[in-house]
C-alpha cells in the first residue's frame, strides 16, 4: 500500500474503511495510522461521503406478502428447450468415434471373411490363385 493506491481507494470507495476492498483495508489503515499526507487525503474524501449519506434509504410501500401472492397467481414460463438441444440426440458420438467405428467394422468384416473362408490349405490356395502353384521353386514372385 502506498499513497497513490490509497488515493485511488478513496476516490472510488470514499472515506469509510468498511467500504474499501477487504483485502486492502488493513494495509490502508496501517498507512493512515502513520502518514500525515494519507490522513489529509482521508479528510478531503469525507465531505462527499457526507453529502451522499444525506440521501435517505427508503422503505418500500409495497407489502411483501400481498405482492408475492398477487404475482404468483400469474403463470410461470415453461423451461425453454433450445432448438439445438431439443434436436440433439441423447447420446452423441465424439468426433473421434466415426474413425473408430469404421476401423471396428473393417476388423469385424475381415474376421468374418477369414472365418467363413474355405480354408488355407495348399490345394485350395492353388485353386484360388493358380499361377502361384506354377511358380515351382522360384524364390520370389514376379512383382
Amino acid at each position: 500500500m502506498n499513497l497513490k493506491r490509497l488515493e485511488q481507494i478513496l476516490a472510488a470507495y470514499g472515506a469509510k474503511p468498511e467500504r474499501w476492498p477487504e483485502a486492502e483495508r488493513p494495509a490502508a489503515l496501517a498507512l493512515l495510522a502513520q502518514d500525515a499526507r494519507a490522513q489529509q487525503l482521508l479528510r478531503e474524501a469525507r465531505p462527499l461521503d457526507g453529502l451522499l449519506d444525506s440521501l435517505p434509504a427508503q422503505a418500500p410501500h409495497l407489502d411483501a406478502s400481498s405482492l408475492a401472492a398477487r404475482l404468483s397467481e400469474r403463470p410461470q414460463e415453461p423451461i425453454p428447450l433450445r432448438p439445438s438441444v431439443a434436436a440433439r440426440p441423447r447420446w452423441r458420438i465424439p468426433l473421434i468415434m466415426p474413425n473408430l467405428i469404421g476401423l471396428a467394422a473393417a476388423a469385424v468384416a475381415g474376421f468374418w471373411i477369414g472365418w467363413t473362408n474355405p480354408g488355407t490349405d495348399g490345394s485350395k490356395v492353388t485353386e484360388l490363385v493358380p499361377y502361384i502353384a506354377d511358380l515351382g521353386d522360384e524364390e520370389s514372385l514376379p512383382w
Binding site: 469525507r46 451522499l52 418500500p60 411483501a64 401472492a69
Partner: protein, 187 residues
C-alpha cells in the same frame, strides 16, 4: 442474506412453491426497492420496476439452475438495474432543476429546508450521472455489494467497477462542490 438459502428458495419457486417465492420477495423487496429508488429518483416509478422485476423472478424461476453462475441477489440486482436503465432511456431526461422525488423517510420530522434542499441536490446529481456510473454507485456505495457482485450485476469486469466508481465520484464531487464547500459536510 444467505446465498444458499436464496438458491433453495429460487429452485422451490421454480417448482411453483408460492410460499418459497413469498419468502424470496420478503428477503429482497427492501434492497430491490432501494436500488430502484436511487436509480430512478422516484418512489412511484421504483415500485413499478420492482413489481416488474419480481414478476420476472417468478416467471423465470423454472429456468433457474443452481450451478448457473450468478447468485440470486446479483441476478436480481441486474434485472432491477436493467429495467431502471430501460425506463430512463425511454423517458429522457430529468433536468437538474427538476430534482427527483426523494420522500422523507421520517414524515413529521422537523427537517430543515436546507437539509431537504441538500438531499434534492444530491439526488439530482446522482440522476446526472451516466447510467452505469450511477448503477455502480448505487450498488457499491449504497447497497454495499462487493466489486465482484457489482461486476456481475452490470455484466462488466471486476476491474472496470473501480474505474466506474472513480469517474462517478469525480463527477459527483464536481456537481456538488459548492455544497460541500459552503456547508462543510463532515461525517
Amino acid at each position: 442474506m444467505d446465498p444458499a438459502e436464496d438458491e433453495e428458495l429460487m429452485l422451490a419457486s421454480g417448482r411453483g412453491d408460492r410460499a418459497a417465492f413469498a419468502e424470496l420477495v420478503r428477503r429482497h423487496l427492501g434492497r430491490s426497492n432501494a436500488i430502484a429508488v436511487r436509480m430512478l429518483g422516484s418512489a412511484a416509478e421504483a415500485e413499478e420496476v420492482v413489481q416488474e422485476a419480481l414478476l420476472r423472478v417468478w416467471q423465470k424461476a423454472p429456468s433457474w439452475r443452481k450451478d448457473g453462475g450468478a447468485r440470486v441477489s446479483t441476478w436480481m440486482a441486474r434485472v432491477i438495474v436493467n429495467l431502471c436503465i430501460d425506463r430512463r432511456r425511454r423517458a429522457r431526461s430529468v433536468p437538474l432543476e427538476e430534482a427527483p422525488e426523494m420522500p422523507d423517510p421520517t414524515p413529521g420530522a422537523d427537517e430543515t429546508l436546507a437539509m431537504d434542499e441538500r438531499r434534492q441536490r444530491v439526488a439530482a446529481a446522482l440522476a446526472e450521472l451516466p447510467d452505469r456510473q450511477r448503477a455502480a454507485v448505487v450498488l457499491s456505495y449504497y447497497e454495499g455489494l462487493s466489486n465482484a457482485e457489482v461486476a456481475g450485476a452490470l455484466e462488466i469486469s471486476v476491474g472496470a467497477v473501480e474505474s466506474l466508481l472513480v469517474r462517478a465520484r469525480r463527477s459527483l464531487a464536481g456537481l456538488l462542490a459548492d455544497l460541500a464547500r459552503t456547508e462543510g459536510v463532515v461525517t
